[in-house]
């Protein structure tokens, strides 16, 4: 479904050295992949580059979703094609209600597929179904997008968006950061319930903790912009026990 080959990227508009230095990753439908790594390893950059954040510039390689070149698409087209990234720091948009924002996104995606837009009442039904999934109060729908939300509320709101937009490829960018255990459980349960045979999930995380709840099929370890180790879910536990120095040292030994 998603095939990433030799992907290179750096901060846009700079001559800085690359943050991603050749990523290869294949994700098939129905799979959950965890991308782990220490700070500065490039794991968040990978998520941002896949979502099309203009703050990063791709300097080489390819990323193809269902045969379509992702890197050629604007961020909105990627979203319309089925890419969704849950932000590590969801953006506050005072003045736009959550309901209005989400309905606009939902309808823009429908429009791109040649489908009829849904009216506010129909959409309310669609949303209400999903609210329970993330244990969210319907009153939150009337509040401005993320404005004044707690850390946990913001992350739950990201999962609510994911539930409503039903992406084909979900990327969770350090969704566990700053979450207490209850919020973490709610978020993880939401993600698990949204798993479908025709969709895939990439979980980007620093800690193994989240993977107790969202069990990955594959774990990849990033270090200095490259995947240095891949394995099954037990790799995450091994990392937890030995620390990132373990893979970082191994990489040095290889080099």
């Amino acid at each position: 479904m998603l095939i990433i080959k030799d992907l290179h990227a750096r901060v846009a508009g700079t001559e800085d050295r690359e943050i991603l230095k050749g990523i290869d990753l294949t994700v098939n439908a129905g799979e959950v992949h965890a991308v782990m790594g220490p700070n500065g390893s490039g794991k968040s950059t990978l998520a941002q580059v896949l979502a099309g954040n203009p703050a990063y510039e791709v300097t080489g390689g390819s990323a193809v979703l269902d045969g379509q070149d992702l890197l050629e698409m604007d961020p909105e087209v990627r979203a319309q094609t089925g890419v969704f990234m849950a932000f590590q720091y969801p953006v506050e948009i005072p003045g736009v209600s959550n309901a209005y924002f989400l309905r606009t996104a939902y309808n823009e995606i429908r429009k791109s597929k040649g489908l009829e837009e849904v009216d506010p009442l129909e959409f309310l039904d669609i949303m209400e179904e999903q609210l329970a999934l993330v244990d969210m109060d319907p009153a939150m729908l009337e509040r401005s997008v993320n404005a004044g939300f707690s850390g946990g509320e913001k992350k739950r709101n990201e999962i609510l968006q994911m539930a409503v937009l039903r992406p084909r490829l979900s990327i969770l960018d350090e969704t566990d950061s700053g979450l207490d255990i209850d919020a973490l459980r709610i978020v993880a349960e939401g993600v698990n319930k949204l798993k479908r045979p025709d969709s895939a999930t990439i979980v980007v995380t620093h800690y193994q903790r989240l993977l107790n709840y969202i069990v990955p099929d594959f774990v990849h370890v990033l270090s200095a912009g490259r995947i240095v180790k891949s394995g099954g879910k037990e790799l995450a536990l091994e990392l937890e026990a030995k620390g990132y120095e373990w893979v970082e040292q191994k990489e040095e030994a290889l080099a």
Partner: protein
């Protein structure tokens, strides 16, 4: 050009021009006002308060007192500017003249008295004598002096002690806009007595595009414990000129909520001045200006903290497109006696084009030592991170820009208390930025 107004004044008083109404003291007041105007002349950019706004386009044009409207304005003409509930009391002025047929002042709630100035001389002489021209001084303001000399009609609203009036009073000044170079001088007085509560909505609209001038003065009096929400909608013709003074005086424990919404006129200037002249009173001054093309919009606010333990909250936002020019000059003046003043002032601007410009000048002048005052101003463009966030949810770049622009404005519109008014202004704003 000052001469023209003085000559007009002679004609205005000679032919009776509405001056027949009113008490004995009025003609001499008018005379002092026109004399003061001829001494002051129109302000120039050397005057600090007019540094960023040239009144040359007004001063160099000869405006004539608007004659009675050349054709009848029908209720249907006002549909685009009417909103809220049909039961809301409404006073309509066409080219400065009260139109009883378009107005509706029947079945007023208990405690609310609404009339027009011309009638008020007879019906509420004592009220006028007590307050009219007492709040808005003309000694240092040429436009207020002119308004005082020529004032002819406007709204008079009185809210009795303890009366809480739900329905806003809608005062609508309609310009027919059929001829260029006409001038009107609306003069309004609102008195909210002890512990009363009311909302007054003042709209300025035009039925056609013309280069007329509106020179308006509103005097608002808040007695002890009163709460008054005053919303001014300046939606003049984009060729017109608008100079508006909102002058407020507040007694102990009163709360003034002022909102200035400005989208019209080629050149507009709105002053909102309030005097916090009693302990425990406060003012919330908010505003939103949105202009495009060659429009020039200027807001000057002044909050005078005179007595101790008073507060002020101020948020003005501006969205400037095309080659428009915005000016915001906000002064918070804390007198030596006004200890424990709590003041916050903010002016945020969004520039949508390279050619748009804004001059913003928030000022604090503090002469007391135990106060908490902050102020700030920002000028910026749409936030790239927020744009990316919206696009990453499938929202097109254009729609994301529209929504963020709307959101910038909605953030301050949310502060309007009366839901029907807030909804209307939100819709107008949404329509402005969405295609």
């Amino acid at each position: 050009m000052t001469r023209t107004y003085v000559d007009d004044f002679a004609a205005f008083t000679a032919n009776g021009g509405g001056v027949a109404e009113g008490p004995e003291w009025l003609p001499s007041l008018r005379h002092s006002a026109i004399e003061r105007f001829s001494e002051l002349g129109f302000p120039t950019r050397k005057n600090e308060d007019w540094h960023f706004t040239s009144v040359a386009p007004i001063a160099e044009r000869e405006f004539q007192l608007a004659p009675p409207a050349p054709r009848r304005v029908e209720a249907a003409d006002l549909v685009p500017f009417s909103f809220g509930h049909p039961e809301w009391p409404r006073l309509v002025f066409v080219d400065g003249r009260f139109d009883a047929e378009l107005s509706s002042t029947k079945n007023l709630p208990r405690g609310l008295f609404v009339t027009n100035l011309k009638r008020a001389w007879r019906e509420a002489g004592v009220l006028l004598e007590q307050h009219l021209t007492k709040v808005a001084a003309f000694e240092n303001d040429a436009f207020t002096a002119l308004n005082t000399a020529f004032m002819n009609d406007g709204a008079v609203v009185h809210v009795a002690p303890d009366a809480e009036i739900e329905a806003p009073v809608h005062v609508m000044f309609v310009s027919t806009g059929l001829t260029d170079s006409l001038v009107t001088y609306p003069r309004n007085l609102v008195v909210a007595e002890r512990n009363s509560k009311a909302t007054v909505l003042e709209s300025y609209v035009s039925l056609a595009d013309a280069a007329y001038l509106t020179n308006t003065v509103s005097e608002l009096v808040l007695r002890t414990g009163a709460t008054l929400e005053h919303i001014k909608l300046q939606r003049e013709s984009e060729k017109a000129f608008h100079v508006g003074n909102v002058q407020v005086t507040q007694e102990r424990d009163s709360h003034m909520l002022s909102f200035s919404f400005a989208t019209g006129a080629a050149l507009s200037r709105t002053n909102v001045h309030t005097s916090l002249a009693g302990e425990g009173c406060g003012a919330t001054l908010d505003g939103l200006y949105m202009v495009d093309g060659e429009q020039h919009v200027d807001h000057q606010t002044l909050v005078e903290h005179i007595e101790p333990n008073t507060f002020s909250r101020e948020l003005y936002k501006g969205i400037l497109d095309g080659a428009s020019h915005g000016v915001f000059n906000g002064r918070v003046y804390v007198h030596a006696k006004a200890q424990k003043t709590d003041g916050k002032q903010q002016n945020n601007n969004l520039l949508l084009s390279e050619r748009a410009q804004i001059d913003t000048k928030p000022q604090l002048e503090i002469f007391a030592d135990d106060v908490r005052c902050t102020h700030g101003a920002t000028v910026g463009r749409l936030d790239d991170v927020a744009l990316f966030y919206m696009k990453s949810r499938g929202i097109s770049a254009e729609r994301a820009r529209e929504l963020l622009t709307y959101a910038f404005a909605a953030d301050v519109l949310e502060k309007i208390d009366v839901r029907a008014i807030r909804d209307e202004l939100e819709e107008q704003t949404l329509n402005r930025f969405t295609k």
